[in-house]
């Protein structure tokens, strides 16, 4: 039983890490709560579903359509709405409310096109899964865990080793000094939204491979991702992955010992403990100014 709980914790943690890293990457330079990211995540699953069921495209192409849908939605929001708000020097509260509004409108649009009922893009028949030390894991879950690991490494390399990554970190560290150094902030935001939204799309598709989904799939995933970002520390990709793993494990142990209805409560209790005793998270730096 313990092996299964640990494995379930790893799987849950991996899904939180995927959405957490994609959200954290965007939050790093922009410093506002991009609520609509939840819909960008769901768009990956629904884009893939549309490509399979409406266009009859093969799965590999449908996945690309799903990732593309998320990327286009994320970029459209950044280029049309957020950029205009930045030009007007809008406060982070205005950004938060706008983003929340966008989330509601877009989630309802998904409901309008696809219906509110539960959908599935599972491949093949439901199988028992592979046995690892007495615990069961499905191929889709193996894909989630391995992709989460691969993307943690890839995003870390992007931020530390590439010119684009350095520009993202510079804007995150001191946006005005980045302007002064000749960094084009709009370009940095465009690229982080492109990568972050594509990653959210990948996360949405992977989760949809593993379980059924509905238009509200984004909100819970986003909340867990955000908790992972706060626990892990803003700016630290490894921290986010660790934070996600901690929540995943704690939730699964909670399900085992006290009951599944406490899953979300456990995550938020951990969040509270971190906010009170280690607000900078596992590996993050002390935040000079907190914005919503």
């Amino acid at each position: 039983m313990l092996a299964q709980v640990l494995l379930n914790g790893l799987i849950a943690g991996s899904t939180y890490a995927l959405i957490g890293i994609s959200f954290g990457l965007i939050y790093m330079p922009t410093r506002f709560f991009h609520f609509a990211h939840g819909v960008v995540y769901a768009a990956g699953a629904y884009g893939t579903l549309a490509a399979i069921s409406w266009l009859n495209l093969p799965l590999s192409i449908a996945v690309l359509v799903g990732v593309g849908t998320s990327t286009v939605i994320g970029l459209t929001i950044e280029c049309t709405v957020y950029r205009a708000l930045r030009r007007r020097s809008a406060s982070s509260l205005v950004f938060l409310l706008t983003s929340l509004g966008l989330y509601i409108v877009l989630q309802n649009s998904i409901s309008l096109f696809f219906g509110d009922y539960i959908q599935s893009i599972r491949i093949g028949a439901v199988e028992e899964g592979i046995d690892i030390l007495g615990a069961r894991i499905t191929p889709a879950q193996i894909l989630i865990v391995s992709m989460s690991l691969a993307l943690t490494v890839a995003v870390t390399i992007l931020l530390k080793r590439t010119k684009m990554g350095r520009a993202i970190r510079a804007v995150a560290n001191d946006a005005e000094l980045a302007d002064i150094s000749g960094i084009n902030r709009d370009k940095v935001f465009f690229r982080t939204f492109a990568i972050g939204s594509a990653l959210a799309g990948v996360a949405g598709i992977l989760v949809a491979f593993d379980s059924d989904f509905c238009p509200t799939m984004g909100i819970n995933a986003l909340m867990m991702g955000v908790v992972a970002v706060i626990i892990g520390g803003v700016g630290s990709i490894h921290g986010i992955a660790l934070g996600a793993l901690l929540i995943g494990m704690a939730q699964q142990f909670g399900v085992w010992k006290i009951g599944s209805q406490w899953q979300n409560a456990i995550a938020f209790v951990i969040l509270l403990i971190f906010l009170l005793f280690r607000p900078q998270g596992f590996l993050g730096k002390k935040v000079k100014k907190v914005t919503v």
């Binding site: 010119k163 350095r166 510079a170 560290n173 001191d174 005005e176 302007d179 150094s181 000749g182 960094i183």
Partner: protein
């Protein structure tokens, strides 16, 4: 090299600068002095495009650059060193310089980097260190290095002495003189440490309540305590 004509600007609805005319001659150091809150830093920021100019014009190398983006200014050879030893304190010394030389091709970046190491050997020793852990003087060197790596023709400096010990102020002023003399960089510097800046500059402006209160050679006011008091009170 830089000519500012009838510049007016401010923050929100509050006007800070009124009808400012000033020039920074090529190859020279020009200083702007004045009391706290007089609008010195605002003048520098509006020249560089960090805040928008309401009225008037900024000309650089006989081109109108009023309200041009900071990116365009950096690419055109203008560098800005902001107040308070500001560096990217979550990044290493080398990464700070990489950000400074963001638009340079790899090969010329390496050449420019070597020049910075030569100018500030202390920084090379600490290139892998997190810049947040540098001393005040080292941070100021890094801030200068970040600006100089693009080989600017015009260097705008906002109170480089702020927060530094008197010994370090002299040290930094000597560096400014060296940068101007050896590299031929035109410097426009805003400074509160009047005595020190008057030693190194070729021309000085004083701004008081958002208006030019004095323009002339530093030698004329350097030893005139009454005039200096009048400019600062």
């Amino acid at each position: 090299m830089l000519k500012v004509e009838r510049l007016e600007t401010g923050y929100g609805k509050k006007q800070v600068l009124f009808d400012i005319d000033l020039e920074a001659a090529e190859g020279k150091i020009t200083a702007i002095i004045g009391p706290n809150g007089s609008g010195k830093s605002t003048a520098l920021k509006s020249i560089f495009g960090l805040i928008s100019v309401w009225k008037g014009a900024v000309n650089y190398k006989n081109k109108d650059i009023t309200n041009r983006s900071t990116q365009a200014n950096v690419k055109d050879g203008i560098a800005f060193v902001p107040q308070g030893n500001r560096v990217f304190d979550e990044m290493t010394v080398l990464e700070n310089l990489e950000i400074g030389g963001f638009h340079l091709p790899k090969k010329s970046f390496q050449t420019e980097l070597n020049k910075i190491w030569e100018l500030f050997p202390e920084l090379e020793k600490r290139k892998k260190q997190n810049s947040g852990k540098l001393s005040g003087g080292e941070k100021q060197m890094l801030a200068l290095g970040r600006a100089l790596i693009n080989s600017p023709r015009l260097l705008l400096m906002d109170e480089p002495s702020l927060g530094l010990s008197p010994k370090l102020v002299t040290f930094i002023m000597n560096y400014i003189r060296k940068i101007n003399h050896e590299f031929g960089v035109t410097v426009l510097i805003v400074e509160q440490k009047v005595r020190e800046v008057l030693e190194v500059c070729h021309h000085v402006y004083s701004i008081k309540l958002g208006k030019i209160a004095y323009s002339g050679k530093p030698e004329i006011i350097k030893d005139d305590k009454d005039k200096l008091r009048e400019l600062f009170l």
